[in-house]
Symmetry: C2
């Protein structure tokens, strides 16, 4: 999520989203912390979305709902496919009154003090754009995700000419994608994938399953084309695959010959050598279609010995294990598996180092702010900028929440604003970096002991046998023994406390906690959560 501010008005470019890491126990989604926008909700002119990928568009429902509570819901602009994807997402969240404006690349229009223009780029989803934001001080160019694909599948390469023109007119600031700056050379074109898919398909005798990101509509097109060449029909499996291809077809981003598409239930009616299944699950996601097929748990598709599964995607870092597990299950079934390690059946959507340099040379920015990448990649991007002749003092390696202030005198980082991550857990969003997450980690590591002591209000003496309950604490073969020990420890602590005239429940609970935690640790050498509850009757 990038915020551009001028004359006290705000333009938001993309809204972000990430998926939780394993340490974020029980968290569903991670959003950018947009507290800053919440306070400034009335100053937001619009939200512009560069393309339809989750990490750029995904937070939209949450952002719009929150902003709507603090001011008017701002309008959202983007390319037609991006807006169609936004619309579908907002409908799922029952947000229907949002103004979504389709923007054609190359058409400039004013939004308050900003002149907005979207510039066609190539990426692993159609309808990707850079955003040029004209202000009195000059143009801010935000690349979005991009590669310079000279032979894209739809025949529409990035609008290099317009980028060059903007460069000649004078770009004030370039915010550029850093995802693949650590790869040398130029990224391979998306269109090299098609012939390789066809080669792989030609060797297959059984059914073929291709898995890829559902939003990679040009990849789906190439799978369809390769299937067509070999006289195979195509079935789409997985909710997001069906949804995205549906949207893509309605906007003519993908062409499927008449009669070629069959429903998942018709797969078994076709001979094995007459079908290609395009499926979600390229990242080994637990409930995805391919994962379920691999575990023989898919309602429509039962894979068999001799079928071939093509991974037309690489695992996102962190997903390697899930992908490997899926592949191994497929081998169990007797499937052939083809991955990008075996044949060039995937191409990245992000430009490599030479493309990043080309972008810098085309746009000749006054200032450079590398973005989209970890610290290492931002650093490497800054080095590429130096390599093409930009002065180090004009290159700003920032961090989430660090505003870059630009005026006639120059550019400098301002004071840090609140930024970072907030979590979505169920339906609520909030900052749970603190207590709840720590508790969950503790609970998941060693489980919990709950001890209920019932005491008489008058004299603090125990009036019922202490209850001892435990969950997630393993190997309690000798549980009976330990439970007895815990009970007598409780009784003894209570007696001692009564003797010392300690009557306050909080204090009693603290005493019990300390005594019991020590006992449990001595016996189990683990530190489960110990939760004493004192009830006065």
């Amino acid at each position: 999520m990038t915020v551009v501010e001028h004359d006290d008005r705000i333009l938001v470019v993309d809204v972000g989203l990430r998926f939780p890491t394993p340490e974020m126990v029980g968290i569903d989604l991670v959003l950018p912390d947009f507290s800053y926008l919440r306070e400034r909700a009335r100053d937001i002119e619009a939200i512009v979305v560069t393309h339809g990928h989750e990490d750029h568009l995904g937070a939209l429902p949450w952002v719009l709902r929150e902003l709507g509570r603090h001011g008017d819901t701002p309008p959202v602009y983007g390319g037609p496919l991006t807006m169609a994807m936004a619309r579908s997402k907002l409908e799922e969240h029952k947000l229907r009154d949002v103004e979504l404006g389709d923007v054609a690349p190359g058409e400039a229009f004013d939004l308050g003090p900003f002149e907005l223009e979207m510039i066609h780029m190539t990426h692993s989803i159609p309808d990707s754009s850079a955003v040029a934001i004209g202000t009195e001080l000059g143009t801010v160019l935000i690349t979005g995700d991009y590669k310079f694909d000279q032979t894209p599948v739809d025949g529409q390469p990035a609008d290099i000419s317009r980028l060059a023109e903007l460069g000649r007119e004078g770009v004030l600031l370039l915010c550029g994608d850093s995802t693949n700056v650590d790869r040398d050379g130029f990224s391979p074109s998306e269109s090299v994938v098609g012939p390789h898919l066809q080669e792989v398909f030609a060797r297959c005798e059984g059914r073929i399953v291709v898995t890829s990101f559902a939003s990679n509509i040009h990849r789906v097109q190439q799978v369809v084309d390769a299937a067509h060449e070999l006289g195979r029909k195509v079935a789409l499996v997985g909710r997001s695959m069906r949804k995205n291809v549906g949207i893509g077809r309605s906007l003519d981003h993908i062409e499927v010959p008449e009669g070629m598409l069959v429903g998942p239930r018709e797969i078994d009616d076709l001979p094995d050598e007459r079908i290609v299944i395009i499926s979600t699950g390229s990242q080994g996601e637990p409930l995805s279609a391919l994962r379920r097929m691999a575990y023989r748990d898919h309602p429509q598709v039962q894979l068999r010995r001799g079928d071939t599964v093509v991974f037309s995607a690489t695992p996102v870092p962190g997903n390697e294990r899930a992908v490997n597990e899926t592949i191994d299950r497929l081998y169990h079934i007797g499937c052939h598996v083809v991955t990008p390690r075996d044949a060039p059946v995937h191409a990245s959507g992000h430009g490599y180092a030479e493309e990043v340099k080309l972008m810098l040379n085309l746009t000749q920015p006054r200032y450079v702010l590398p973005f989209h990448g970890d610290f290492k990649r931002l650093r490497l991007h800054a080095q590429l900028a130096e390599a093409v002749g930009i002065e180090p003092r004009d290159i700003f390696q920032g961090d989430n929440g660090m505003p870059l202030d630009i005026d006639a005198r120059g550019a400098r980082f301002g004071d840090r604003e609140q930024a970072g991550m907030v979590f979505v857990d169920g339906v609520e969003i909030g900052d749970m970096a603190d207590v709840a997450l720590r508790d969950r980690r503790m609970l998941s590591a060693d489980g919990i002991f709950i001890v209920v002591a019932t005491i008489a209000e008058q004299d603090g003496r125990s009036v019922a046998e202490p209850e001892v309950i435990f969950r997630g604490v393993p190997f309690l073969d000798q549980a009976g023994e330990l439970v007895e020990e815990i009970r007598s420890t409780v009784e003894e602590s209570l007696r001692r406390a009564a003797g010392e005239e300690i009557r306050e429940v909080d204090l009693l609970q603290q005493t019990l906690h300390d005594d019991l935690a020590q006992l449990v640790y001595d016996r189990l050498r683990r530190r489960p959560m110990v939760l004493p509850v004192v009830v006065e009757v």
Copy 2:
């Protein structure tokens, strides 16, 4: 862990160990389920360990302690370095009365009905061996982990000649390493790493940190040699690095020139360009030396801008994210980072497909049982065996717990024995695949509500306000409200139960659970664990 059985006597080859995956919440270690051996403890002739890596040696303390309880502790045999590592490990576990026998490669000796011979192999730890087990029916050859390194660092290639001789004499069964069967060609020699390390070092101006597996003693040797060439001294950082190098030096597997080794505290006394630090942490392990350096939290080593960190290892699948995080923190500090993607500073210890074929051709086994690998790799290994001319019916793709029975009439899989994984959690081992793990997952996903209701024994009416406690449940800004709702739900459930004369505590708790779980789900759209406790007074 491989079990060879003949004439009712057992020889165990290696004992296994793996590290838990994130789903194994709170588990410390994973061991093979050796129930079968526990019942047969008195029939075990010996345990033979092929080399000193954790996944072959790690479970030894647990296995020996358990077997000792069920019979005599069997003797353990292996190469001198392997046995030195075993000794150190057993001492940490206070197991001192184990018979550990050094075996020199090429020396055959009898163990009950078995004739045991260790055959020198090359791998990423010195003193690695294959194990030939002679029986009346023929020789069983277990390769251990191996590569055919023609130029190993210590000048001692694998004993190909002896393997060939065994092949000519007749190998009954080959159990062969499958780790890298999916890589074509021959693995690069360990000794190619040294010159590349020296090249990298020569370009460094600041301090150099090299991280690698602590047991890769030849890698450490090559780092020492490269440092020596460039006039740098060497410091060892990290407990296992210091321990393993100490053992390696005492057995002459590593030579460090006089005066070259300095202690971690002396690092700061040397000029930056005069030191190489060899550190643990190549896998991004949370408490490892390198990880602590990267997070500026190491007591002795404070990294600075201009220092270089060389990852002389690749991440084990599943560790990619932790390694990437470590690298990114190093970039934050301003370090240069060199990984095997940047320069050939690592070589795998496992042979590639051509080496696996060479092993098959040398030993000409009657039967083949591929091992050490997931299903996919066992399958690929079987395909390589077919490719070199072994009949498919003589190749057995097994699974943990599937015994291969061989007699004069042939070979076939027998009935499955109990096998799989057991978990170490704290000091105890056991099978917790069931309740405790499921509870932990539930606790970690959504937290826990505990509700204590106190009722009168006589009539079941509530005699104290219900206590409501929650842990790991986030976003309870409206906690007060929900807690009130829970209390009144409890009161109402109790009233209803009293009316229906339900007095049994178990039944009351079940009723409370159902009512409360529904309420909590309605309010939070989450399913935390709900634990009602009814106390009678």
